[in-house]
């Protein structure tokens, strides 16, 4: 038990030192990198390591007779969590999510310190001591609180009520519910039933299985089946359409959406928000092909009500591209990112 706890303490100290070092640039901030693709689990595991580390630390400190009071343990852990979320994860976590996590953290710290009567009493002890004010020091502290807390509360409420000139918060539903049908170039497409006319097998029939088979690795994308090179001029059918879509993409789209389709094109950072990142599993990978068709054709101005505040500079491409060209571009986007269009059955 003791050995285990010592190990935990070791992990805790090492972790804290490393984190502190990375935050304050003592050691290179890439010493332990959050690896793209593994980050979500990595983050959970890291936090778990810290919890083990803290447990070990508090055990060892207790054994050495320098136990940290439960009160400070609780507060300390919560502060640590907030700092970790703020500084460790890059890109920074939005304030709203940090607020949610902070609240959950506060609740769980409370659940932890009040899980049993003994712990709860230990936790309350410092508060009770101040309230009771048996010693002169405590009494002084109590008076200090008596003055400080109202001032603090007043300050907070003043801060909250004070008119501020902030950029308004961006609230938008990224994937609003599509309309039932959309009209492009005078033709009506029912989004639920329409199909990409170029997603075809060698017989010329719509066949998603066939085109999916041309994509070897999901997510990472861009790995091709042997002999499936769309840039080959001799290609016919699906791969030819992919190539044509690629040409249209690089003539029209890549300035914003980037040549890796990751939303970081030449002009991307002139816009706010920056263009959609198709390599992200949260964009085209979880949408139907017709949804993309609708978005490309109608652009930012075609967003429905719930897409408020319509913050998109995407032009309505139906004014520049033919229907066929739009379908081909969509085909290319899926091929290049290596995702499959979503289907519902």
């Amino acid at each position: 038990m003791k050995a285990l706890m010592s190990l935990g303490a070791l992990i805790g100290v090492a972790g804290l030192l490393l984190l502190g070092g990375m935050v304050f640039d003592v050691v290179p901030s890439t010493t332990i990198r959050l690896v793209e693709g593994y980050m979500p689990i990595q983050m959970l595991l890291e936090v778990a390591c810290y919890v083990i580390g803290f447990t070990g630390l508090s055990y060892i400190m207790g054994a050495m007779g320098m136990a940290i009071p439960r009160f400070w343990q609780g507060i300390g852990f919560w502060v640590f969590l907030m700092l970790y979320l703020k500084f460790r994860v890059y890109p920074p976590i939005p304030f709203s999510v940090r607020a949610m996590y902070g609240t959950v953290g506060l609740v769980t710290v409370f659940m932890w310190v009040s899980a049993n009567e003994e712990d709860w009493n230990k936790f309350k002890q410092p508060i009770m001591n101040v309230l009771d004010a048996q010693t002169g020091m405590k009494r002084l502290l109590r008076y200090a609180y008596l003055v400080a807390i109202p001032i603090l509360v007043g300050g907070f409420s003043f801060n909250a009520m004070m008119p501020k000139s902030e950029e308004p918060i961006e609230l938008r539903t990224v994937h609003p519910a599509p309309p039932a049908s959309t009209k492009v170039h005078g033709k009506t497409y029912t989004l639920q039933t329409s199909q990409n006319p170029y997603r075809v097998n060698p017989e010329g029939k719509y066949d998603q299985e066939f085109s999916n088979a041309n994509i070897v690795e999901q997510g990472m994308g861009r790995l091709m089946k042997p002999n499936a090179n769309p840039w080959d001029d001799k290609n016919q059918g699906y791969l030819k359409y992919v190539r044509e879509g690629g040409e249209i993409f690089f003539q029209n789209c890549h300035f914003c959406h980037g040549d890796n389709l990751n939303g970081r094109g030449l002009h991307a950072f002139a816009f706010n928000p920056i263009p959609a990142n198709f390599t992200d599993p949260g964009t085209i990978a979880q949408l139907q092909e017709t949804f993309i068709f609708w978005r490309v054709a109608k652009g930012g101005i075609g967003l429905p009500n719930e897409g408020f505040p319509w913050a998109s500079v995407m032009p309505p491409w139906e004014q520049h591209l033919t229907v066929d060209e739009i379908w081909k571009v969509v085909l290319f986007e899926y091929w290049h990112t290596g995702y499959y269009p979503r289907t519902w059955d």
Partner: protein, 434 residues
């Protein structure tokens, strides 16, 4: 804040006054100084919390519809009040604390809901009323597509069919089968070619060699492509495209029914809508609605025009016949008469399909060595022929000519009536009674 306080006063002054009265009453009536002090103190707390309560209510009242994120604050105020009161009113302590806790939970969740982004669902799209003349060409074309195919965007679906029943005979897309009637792709541009056809004899209907010379006496012939389309709808036998006439009439008579007459009975605006779709789907701007209707008025006399479809509820059923009609009407509504000759049925002189004398022929065909169907009896054979026409194709007629949609488009009752009738038709015998 100021108006909140005054609002709270105006709502709660009675309660506050009663409490204040109690305060005075206790001051006067209670003798024991300790008890008096306690009572007065409690009443004082009561006044404050009562006032806070009214302030909270006032806040709710003024901000109920507002965007104010302060609403939860009033709930928190109530929570704090109840917990403070619970300290002093020990009798009600549990109730107050529970109430406070509940207020707190509700306040938290309410606040959370208000903290999240606020999106309001917009008003619904305006309900479409079929006001034909104010429709944009696209809307008109959509209506047309609904009439032809039964729904917007259904024109490529196999077997999609609307109340116009056009796809039963006509094909609409390049390369699609059209043996019973011309493929209608390119119709708007083809109209002019037809007018130039000497057989059409533009401007001189009496020289026509077709069975019907004019749509109605004095209607004349079409002058524009649109009028040609209108005439074709109103009077199919006024001009028959070579090869599509009723067999044996040497293309003098068309198997197509007049669309404005029963059983299809499209109204003029509906016909206009159908035409609008024909134009628009090929990227051609259709003539205006008024012009479209005018072109039909030329060929359909006032008395023949079907009344607006709005009078009887439209689209109640997508069936051609539901079985309540007499059998000859079923044959007419199902358009069987266009292709088949059926003894005893008026107008059923079509020759695209075999003559239907199933009382005699059905049993012969089941015995035919090439028969691969599953029917065992004549009635089963007839049913199979209707529902699954390709199961056995009578020589020398081609396969895939008869639509395969009758299984869905005729009710069971209608099918039964057809089968009953056909199984009684025997070669050489007088036709059965309808």
């Amino acid at each position: 804040m100021g108006n909140l306080i005054s609002e709270a006063f105006s709502m709660g002054w009675m309660a506050l006054a009663i409490l204040a009265g109690l305060l005075v009453y206790f001051q006067v009536s209670i003798g024991d100084p300790a008890a008096k002090k306690r009572a007065v103190f409690k009443t004082f707390i009561g006044i404050i919390s009562c006032f806070l309560l009214f302030m909270a209510i006032a806040n709710y009242k003024t901000n109920f519809y507002g965007e104010s994120r302060l609403l939860p604050v009033s709930l928190v105020m109530i929570t704090v009040t109840t917990f403070i009161m619970a300290l002093y009113f020990t009798n009600l302590g549990a109730l107050l604390k529970i109430g406070g806790m509940m207020f707190f939970v509700a306040a938290f969740l309410s606040g959370y809901g208000n903290w999240l982004p606020q999106v309001e669902g917009g008003f619904p799209p305006v309900e479409e009323k079929k006001t034909w003349d104010s429709m944009t060409p696209q809307q008109l074309a959509d209506e047309g597509e609904k009439i032809i195919f039964g729904g917007v965007g259904k024109n490529k679906e196999q077997g999609a069919i609307g109340k116009g029943q056009c796809p039963l005979c006509h094909a609409f897309h390049a390369g699609m089968l059209g043996e019973r009637a011309p493929n209608l792709l390119g119709l708007p541009t083809r109209g002019n070619e037809r007018l130039d056809d000497p057989k059409y004899s533009k401007g001189n209907p009496s020289k026509r060699e077709y069975e019907v010379k004019e749509a109605f006496p004095g209607s004349g012939t079409a002058e524009t492509a649109q009028e040609y389309i209108a005439e074709s709808h109103a009077c199919p036998s006024c001009y028959v495209v070579a090869g599509y006439g009723v067999k044996g009439t040497n293309d003098k008579q068309s198997p197509m029914p007049a669309i404005h007459k029963p059983p299809i009975s499209l109204s003029l605006p509906e016909l206009a809508a159908v035409d609008a779709w024909m134009y628009l789907r090929e990227g051609i701007d259709p003539p205006s609605f008024e012009d479209l209707v005018k072109s039909y008025e030329k060929f359909i006399p006032e008395a023949d025009r079907p009344k607006q479809a709005d009078e009887k509820p439209a689209g109640a059923t997508s069936l051609m016949a539901d079985g309540s009609e007499p059998v000859d009407q079923i044959f007419a509504k199902g358009q069987c008469i266009s292709c088949h000759t059926i003894p005893g049925i008026p107008g059923a002189v079509g020759t695209i399909g075999p003559k239907l004398e199933e009382g005699t022929t059905a049993s012969q065909r089941i015995k035919d060595p090439t028969y691969k169907g599953t029917a065992k009896s004549p009635t089963e054979y007839i049913m199979e022929s209707i529902v699954d026409p390709s199961a056995f194709v009578v020589k020398p007629f081609p396969d895939n000519t008869m639509p395969k949609v009758f299984g869905q488009k005729l009710s069971a009752g209608a099918l039964k009536k057809i089968v009953d009738y056909l199984s009684q038709v025997k070669t050489g015998a007088p036709p059965p009674k309808i």
